[in-house]
Symmetry: C2
Subunit: 342 residues, 2 copies
């Protein structure tokens, strides 16, 4: 409140008035979490406009679409949505490197598929072993160690492995616009979850450092575990049996199991995310579903309906009918990867 | 910007000085989360001193025991630790009321245990049906509905059911000192989880309202679920099969599965919490384990080694050796339940 004091043009405003102003500014902070501060790697276009309009509508306490912070749950797929998934899922690259590292202890693998193909560098042979072959490799490389030992193996691998095309650590191949979207959502009171078909304990190793997402906000596929005493100390031992597949219809199941509330925002990139998108956007009230479309062969990769990795076919056809936004990497993203000083 | 105005002794301190003071006060807020503001229902004694000393040591950035906020994970059992569990687990009271409500649709229950005993009010008969009988009742009362329908059933029950001795809603029989401890921990940067042998979807219905704990910070026992379309809308349907028992050695498994990090503070009250306490306190660095001892028949209940509900025997014997603190309801708690205006 301004108070005019005749003859004293320079007199400062009274203390209480200035404090009130400061408090108002502090109270207004959430409203300052505007998209221009966060989404600088997004080109102006329909996708960015959808996101901003959704966030502004659910955070406007005077609007019809207002959601209390408790209900602001956002779920994101990981492979192909938050980071690159080509030329193969990064976890598969980890599995292959682990098979190679463990091979000297397993001479029988020289004659046993899919290990023989992995060791011969025959990716077609690996792929031909199908789901059964993949589960064999998961059992061989993900089980038999404690959770803490497994996390250390993944951390060591992430520190040294390099992507074959970009020659960078895999954790640098996260999508900058997605990091910005996460920060923008959190600044607007959202809780942000990963809901990945990948292994929960694999993703948790880097989720906090790379995405700012703590382990308890990661949902993923898992193998069974058992509590055991080793040298008198309790540990969790990983067993060679599938516990839960967090893909397709498994994603809504995983969401209810781990998060316990229907999300209001879901982002995916493949048919494996169809049910998660549908589950999210079919709830009552304001909802947003987004699909990242890989259409940029120059800066990233271009693939959709025919790709064995990250196949996007049914969900792309359904997008207009379901009201899901499609994010084009080529036209919606000004930047794809963090610069990392290069 | 300071403006000196000669002849005006009442000129307030310069703006920047006052703003700096305000900012310092705001920055200092975490350090103001002292126990006297939070633990007023705790008597001064060894238990309170242990808690305060632990929290102060792990939050002192200059101390050897300092833990970054990411590692400040606290896990609490529910039945008997956060709320009363006598004369029977409250979820069992829900099950019994559901069996009664569903009985008209199940004439065969009149001749089928454990339903016959439930309907006859024969609790000894119910107990005699053992674990098999309990699972039969869980299947009959917890499955066949969607997750959202189940949550509504629990909410309706909580709104009307009354505890037989205290004649209050079950959600008013939470322990005030535990609510204070939760608030004290959160004010000191901890994330607080429930790790309950009870049903995860049962506890989630009231955890946010009663404890301020959102659904994703609840770990518990579960039945299997399935994604299904009903009238074209995706729902999660609850199936009559056990998925996971979050009790005894299941608690560390559930902690790793849902939280993904070894906690630094665990609170329980029975032998079902032994492995959770051991898993927590056997990690490196500062750790705190606490056992609530029910020794106050006047204000709550008194039971331990011989009790069929909340039996405390092995964990009590282990407490001194393991360094776990024992909290006596009788002597450590000035107040047991919220007053609720009575």
């Amino acid at each position: 409140m301004e108070r005019k004091i005749p003859g004293h043009p320079a007199t400062p405003r009274p203390v209480h008035a200035r404090l009130a102003g400061l408090w108002l500014a502090l109270l207004a902070l959430p409203a300052l979490a505007q998209e221009q501060d966060f989404l600088s790697s997004w080109n102006d276009g329909a996708a960015k406009a959808r996101i901003v309009s959704f966030v502004e509508s659910v955070t406007d306490p005077t609007g019809a679409d207002y959601l209390p912070p408790a209900e602001r749950i956002a779920v994101f797929d990981n492979d192909g949505t938050r980071w690159c998934e080509q030329p193969m899922y990064f976890q598969l690259a980890f599995i292959i490197d682990r098979v190679r590292a463990l091979a000297p202890q397993h001479p029988e693998w020289q004659a046993q598929e899919p290990f023989r193909s992995v060791l011969a560098g025959d990716m077609a042979g690996v792929m031909a072993s199908g789901e059964h072959g993949l589960l064999e490799m998961v059992a061989a490389t993900h089980a038999g160690v404690t959770s803490e030992e497994f996390a250390a193996l993944v951390a060591d691998w992430l520190a040294t492995a390099r992507h074959p095309r970009f020659e960078r650590p895999y954790t640098e191949l996260v999508f900058t616009p997605m990091l910005e979207l996460l920060a923008y959502l959190r600044a607007n009171g959202f809780r942000t979850f990963i809901v990945s078909g990948g292994g929960i304990e694999f993703v948790r190793v880097f989720s906090e450092r790379v995405y700012g997402i703590p382990p308890e906000q990661v949902v993923g596929s898992s193998i069974r575990t058992r509590h055991e005493l080793r040298d008198g100390k309790p540990v969790i031992v990983r067993l060679p049996e599938i516990d839960f597949i967090d893909d397709k219809a498994g994603k809504p199941v995983g969401i209810q199991k781990f998060i316990g509330r229907r999300p209001v925002l879901a982002v995916g990139n493949s048919d494996g995310d169809f049910e998660m998108l549908e589950y999210t956007t079919s709830g009552p009230g304001p909802r947003l579903g987004l699909i990242v479309r890989h259409d940029d062969a120059a800066r990233e990769y271009a693939y959709d309906r025919e790709s064995p990795v990250g196949r996007l076919d049914r969900a792309l056809d359904a997008a207009p009918r379901q009201g899901w936004g499609v994010v084009s990497i080529k036209s919606d993203w000004r930047v794809v990867y963090p610069d990392a000083g290069r």
